[in-house]
């Protein structure tokens, strides 16, 4: 019996030994993580300096409430014990994008906030970027590029080495596409585990693909830029992404929690500025598609206002009349929407309906007495001297 116990102890030791020899590996998302080797330290240093400049950027959205909300969504998605390692910077840039640096700096462009229709979609993108950070994708990518480019250099000295060089270049991009896919799938796990609707990631890509198609058609290129190249793409093809995410979502527990109401409330104060930035891109077809996708058949006062802005900005024949209609519909739904009064007023002035226009501008000033553009609008709303 004793011998048996001894041998059991030995067996336990034998099992325990390799575990003890390999202490739990710290991830960058663990508190107190420090970069390990010279390569990682170098990458962090570079990013720390970039981050210092980012803090001084004029494009930074500093609104503490909005920042707290976005951070909260990340924390719910990936867990409060980990999310603290990431520092989110909201950038006022109207395109759809987010990026992650190896030191924990996460950039989220405001065009993403405009395009996401609910909290689950935002969580999907934040989760994706977080996985890049957690799994050290930038570091792996650097090592991969370094090793393959070194090989490419030597191949450059060999006759016929060029084909192999091209092959290696392709493999750098393939490596990146694999990491993107890995991040997509791991982010879906996070999303599902935190109770969000698992179909959100595929939906956001579906919407983006639609926007790109409409844009390509309007530009008459007929080719969606993202889809044109495959071998040298750093990200998976958008359609593939949408499809594998959709298939993966079906294997997750369904959830109807997409947090759409919370999301709308959180970005409400920023919405007029976000849509204003988008309208100024002068990309009519894509913006119209975007608004249509956000409305999904039920046009809210905000969306009608945005549509009015879009038509007013283009100003082709018939556009101004349409814009006027959209503003009036939006004000029927929500008479407190100050921006809609302002735009309607300006539109009427432009059409020569000065009395009515000035009346609308005064409504704007009544509702928004502390507006930043008050002096200018007051001047426009003033009755002309007789």
């Amino acid at each position: 019996m004793k011998r048996l116990r001894n041998s059991l102890t030995l067996a336990a030791l034998a099992f325990a030994a390799p575990i003890a020899a390999q202490p739990l590996e710290l991830r960058p998302t663990n508190a107190g993580y420090q970069p390990k080797d010279a390569v990682e330290q170098g990458l962090w240093l570079e990013m720390d300096e970039a981050e210092q400049q980012m803090r001084a950027s004029k494009f930074l959205i500093e609104d503490p409430e909005l920042n707290a909300y976005v951070k909260g969504v990340l924390c719910r998605a990936v867990g409060t014990e980990k999310c603290g390692a990431a520092r989110i910077y909201l950038m006022r840039t109207p395109q759809f994008n987010a990026a992650m640096a190896p030191n924990g700096m996460m950039l989220v462009w405001s065009g993403l906030l405009l395009r996401a229709r609910n909290e689950a979609e935002l969580a999907a993108v934040l989760g994706h970027e977080f996985v890049h950070f957690e799994q050290q994708h930038s570091l792996k990518s650097f090592h991969d590029i370094k090793a393959k480019s070194n090989a490419m250099t030597w191949l450059g000295f060999v006759p016929g080495g060029m084909l192999a060089q091209i092959g290696l270049m392709g493999s750098v991009f393939r490596f990146n596409r694999e990491m993107e896919k890995q991040a997509d799938i791991a982010a879906l796990d996070y999303l599902s585990a935190s109770g969000y609707d698992p179909t959100a990631p595929s939906k956001i890509w579906e919407q983006l693909l639609g926007e790109m198609e409409v844009q390509a058609k309007a530009n008459k290129s007929g080719v969606v830029a993202q889809e044109a190249s495959d071998f040298f793409s750093s990200h998976p093809n958008t359609r593939d992404r949408m499809e594998y995410l959709r298939a993966a979502a079906q294997r997750k527990a369904p959830s109807s929690d997409d947090g759409a109401g919370r999301y709308r409330a959180a970005i409400a104060r920023w919405w007029p500025r976000l849509i204003d930035d988008q309208v100024k891109l002068n990309d009519f077809a894509a913006t119209e598609f975007l608004l249509d996708g956000l409305a999904r058949g039920s046009w809210t006062a905000d969306l009608l206002y945005a549509r009015g802005e879009l038509y007013r900005a283009r100003g082709k024949e018939g556009d101004l009349a349409k814009a006027e209609g959209f503003y009036r519909q939006s004000l029927t739904k929500d008479p407190a929407l100050a921006e809609s009064w302002r735009s309607l007023g300006m539109l009427l002035l432009r059409q020569g309906k000065s009395d009515e226009g000035r009346k609308m501008l005064r409504r704007y000033l009544d509702i928004a007495p502390v507006a930043g553009d008050r002096p200018m609008i007051e001047a426009m709303a003033r009755e002309p001297q007789k």
Binding site: A38, G42, L45, N150, L155, G156, V172, H235
Partner: protein
């Protein structure tokens, strides 16, 4: 998107570098002084030395730049020390500025502006082939009076900005260069680029700028940093002589 861009840049570097063909630019060092500038002879000028803008690392076999944090700390330390010591030898009081202190946002903005202005000067005045018509006979660039708010407590007459970018060749890079040379190709040496500028802290005027496109000295060491600083301060306005050095 950001990641994609960096990959593209890295690969562009590789393609440009292999096989190694391109010639290094003609090595030159030049400086310019604002017309009529001289330190006041009565009191020794007090110069605020801003944390040097350092980028240092290794050039991989393929020529990709690999940042090195340890070297970065050493270069920052050695260059700052060398500046203070060199200033002392010339009868100039050099004080180190604490970058992470108050008003760092303002400093970050001015650093960005400064990089842009110096880039313009290098391209259109000192080295480029496309001079700006309005700047042919003058050297009157300025960062504006906003610089006065960066560090008023330091009570400095001037501010000194210094930039140093160094990439040291890795063993693999040296081997690849050797092979390229044997095959009759030219080489690309590691980059060693630096500039220093003196700014009037009252009005932001750039009163002196020294640029070295192919700087010497291993800035990771005390001796090398001193050598680099001596080189960069070539043409630095002479104190108390009352005479400005013409460009």
């Amino acid at each position: 998107m950001a990641r994609r861009l960096s990959i593209g840049l890295a690969l562009a570097t590789v393609l440009a570098a292999s096989p190694i063909l391109a010639q290094a630019p003609v090595a030159t060092e030049k400086y310019a002084v604002r017309e009529g500038f001289a330190f006041t002879p009565e009191t020794p000028p007090r110069i605020l030395v801003f944390r040097p803008e350092v980028k240092v690392g290794e050039q991989t076999t393929a020529g990709i730049f690999q940042n090195n944090a340890e070297w970065h700390a050493a270069v920052t330390r050695e260059l700052s020390a060398a500046l203070v010591a060199t200033g002392g030898k010339r009868g100039i009081e050099m004080v180190l500025h604490d970058d992470r202190a108050a008003n760092s946002q303002l400093l970050t903005e001015h650093r960005a502006l400064f990089r842009l202005v110096v880039g313009t000067i290098i391209r259109h005045k000192l080295f480029g082939k496309d001079p700006l018509p309005s700047k042919v006979d003058s050297f009157d660039w300025s960062l504006g009076s906003g610089v006065a708010k960066i560090a008023p407590a330091a009570k400095a007459d001037y501010g000194l900005f210094l930039l140093s970018h160094d990439s040291f060749e890795s063993a693999g890079r040296r081997a690849a260069k050797l092979v390229a040379a044997l095959m009759g190709n030219g080489d690309i040496a590691g980059t060693h680029f630096g500039y220093a500028a003196l700014i009037d802290m009252k009005n932001g005027d750039i009163v002196w700028l020294g640029v070295d496109l192919k700087a010497g000295g291993d800035v990771r060491t005390a001796e090398g940093a001193t050598q680099r600083v001596e080189q960069l301060l070539n043409g630095f306005p002479v104190r108390a002589s009352g005479k400005a050095v013409a460009p």
